[in-house]
Amino acid sequence: MAFWIQRCMVIENLQFIHEEGDRAPFEVTLYALSTCGFCRKSIMFLKENRIKFRYVHVDLLDFETKEKVKRYLTEKFNTRLGFPFAVLDDREFLRGFNREEWEKKFSV
């Protein structure tokens, strides 16, 4: 349990960028790469639809933190990581950006 709490702390200690919005259908945390086109598209999608979210560019983290974040996400969701990786309400995820899928999920 202590091990898992330690992992969670890694996430909560990240310097997230917070984007305000007047819609909050989920608590959204987005893990992105600063260099990735679909990641930027996903950020723009959330902003354009005025959805409140927070995000972090994983490639800009120091190596050790980045590896901890990647491991935390793959273990928590028992899945392979791909970017963008959006965590919804800390219990489900969207991997990659597919506009139709995101429109359906966020009801926009």
């Binding site: 790469l33 600063s34 086109g37 679909f38 994983v58 980045k66 990581l81 970017f83 991997r95 990659g96």
Partner: protein, 112 residues
């Protein structure tokens, strides 16, 4: 470490690749700008054009398969009409006018 690249250098590079392979570049100029910027950042960060849509290790030998155009570009084009980043499109896919989306990762998981 090789000399730094500018975004102008990278634009020439992707155009050259597309022309040589008979591919089309994505018509979404905004997406192209992001990918050109990302490729340039990666070149200047690692010394090679690592795929901007994947997290590179920084070790050239380990990242060899994801140096643009990546090893998975052609099979991804055959199945989805475009590469993992949506940068290089086949001519038939380009002609549909569809917007590329994220596609499943073809890279072996142990290389993540």
């Amino acid at each position: 470490m090789p000399a730094n690249k500018t975004e102008a250098d990278t634009r020439i590079f992707i155009k050259m690749v597309a022309d040589k392979q008979d591919w089309e570049l994505n018509r979404d100029s905004e997406l192209i700008s992001i990918l050109v910027s990302g490729l340039t950042v990666n070149y200047n960060r690692y010394g090679y054009y690592s795929c901007p849509c994947r997290d590179a290790s920084g070790a050239r030998s380990r990242d060899a398969d994801i140096i643009c155009p990546c090893k998975y570009c052609r099979p991804d084009q055959e199945e989805y009409g475009h590469c993992y980043c949506g940068l290089y499109l086949t001519r038939p896919f380009f002609a549909t006018g569809k917007e590329p989306s994220s596609i499943p990762e073809r890279r072996p998981e142990d290389l993540d």
